[in-house]
Symmetry: C2
Subunit: 207 residues, 2 copies
């Protein structure tokens, strides 16, 4: 199906500052990246299939990526480390200055330069109706937040981007396919962000 797929970007797309390379084959991700004029921040998503079948292309891509997003089992597979903390730090050595490891219902971990680290829970949901698209929504939410609000990316921006990615993914899984996202408002996102913050902070305002 994707055998003949070789994306050519329209001229206007090539000027974009923030690039999100979704999890297609690493050589195609590289092909997209080569068409960009001067991207300021490159985010890439990947998956087990490419770790297993296109490792050298993936390794090459990693050297040109600022933030890699992958899930816990993929991070372990890629590094042969059981500890996600070790896995994240090891992936950084392969190229990306920042790594986001998704843990599904357990949240996500963000590794930055030096000892920058952020542990993000998952927004608590009683029911998960359809997990399809949660990972893509998470990556899209992170990249979208950065592209929409940030000039120079600092660790605190990535931290906030990860929270927004988690919030958007939490909406995504509440209904079938993209249904929930279609009707989602900025106000609902902002409200859930605040709830999420309240549930996660160490020192809350007095009751």
């Amino acid at each position: 199906m994707f055998k003949e797929f070789k994306p050519e970007l329209p001229e206007t797309y090539r000027q974009t500052d923030f690039v999100l390379l979704a999890n297609i084959e690493p050589s195609l991700q590289a092909h997209v990246l080569e068409q960009m004029k001067r991207p300021r921040f490159v985010v890439a998503d990947t998956m087990d299939l490419w770790i297993e079948t296109a490792r050298s292309d993936l390794d090459e891509l990693l050297r040109r990526v600022d933030l890699l997003i992958l899930n816990d089992s993929e991070a372990r597979e890629m590094t042969k480390e059981t500890s996600l903390i070790k896995a994240g730090r090891r992936i950084q050595k392969m190229g990306p200055a920042h790594v986001a490891i998704k843990k599904g219902e357990h949240g996500a971990l963000l590794f930055g330069e030096g000892d920058h680290f952020f542990s993000c829970g998952a927004y608590p949901l009683e029911d998960i109706h359809d997990p399809t698209g949660a990972g893509d929504t998470f990556a899209g939410g992170m990249a979208g937040y950065l592209a929409g609000t940030v000039k120079t990316v600092h660790f605190n921006d990535l931290r906030k981007a990860m929270i927004y990615g988690s919030v958007l993914a939490s909406f995504c899984v509440e209904a079938f396919s993209l249904e929930r996202l279609r009707s989602l408002s900025i106000e609902e996102i902002a409200k859930r962000y605040e709830m999420f913050k309240l549930m996660s902070q160490f020192e809350a305002p007095p009751e």
Copy 2:
């Protein structure tokens, strides 16, 4: 081994305000509790064995407990719920106003009255040398924090107690048996608490 064990508390112990019933058989936990004069806050730990073999004793005990601590698989087993959010809320209906569900390397969840909820990550460790005792240390840390600093227990106190429980458990697993705890200082605990807070907060001070 525990067949003849029937703990009798010395008179001075019976006056204690905060009680932690470690995870012995529920009928023995009840026997200890009955000896207490007027406990202000009762914490109980439990385990899969009692959920499977002493359920009615456990159910009876739950009605007299303020905070139940158990791990994720035990919470699921006890409630037949896959969602930990549903499981926590369901256990509250069985008696305890507060429930703490431990998720090992993924942290812990705290359920309180109304919609009070706290999601706590785990302090990130590259190596786990010996997980033995982590659960007991977590429970002891929670109860110890409450007993040492709190008069009337509010949700924010439990939140902080859970963080201290997590911090102590993170020290516990760093070395064999209780070795690390033996040499642990208050300053080390306070320092790790601050690091942990920095790694978990949504909005950090500017870099």
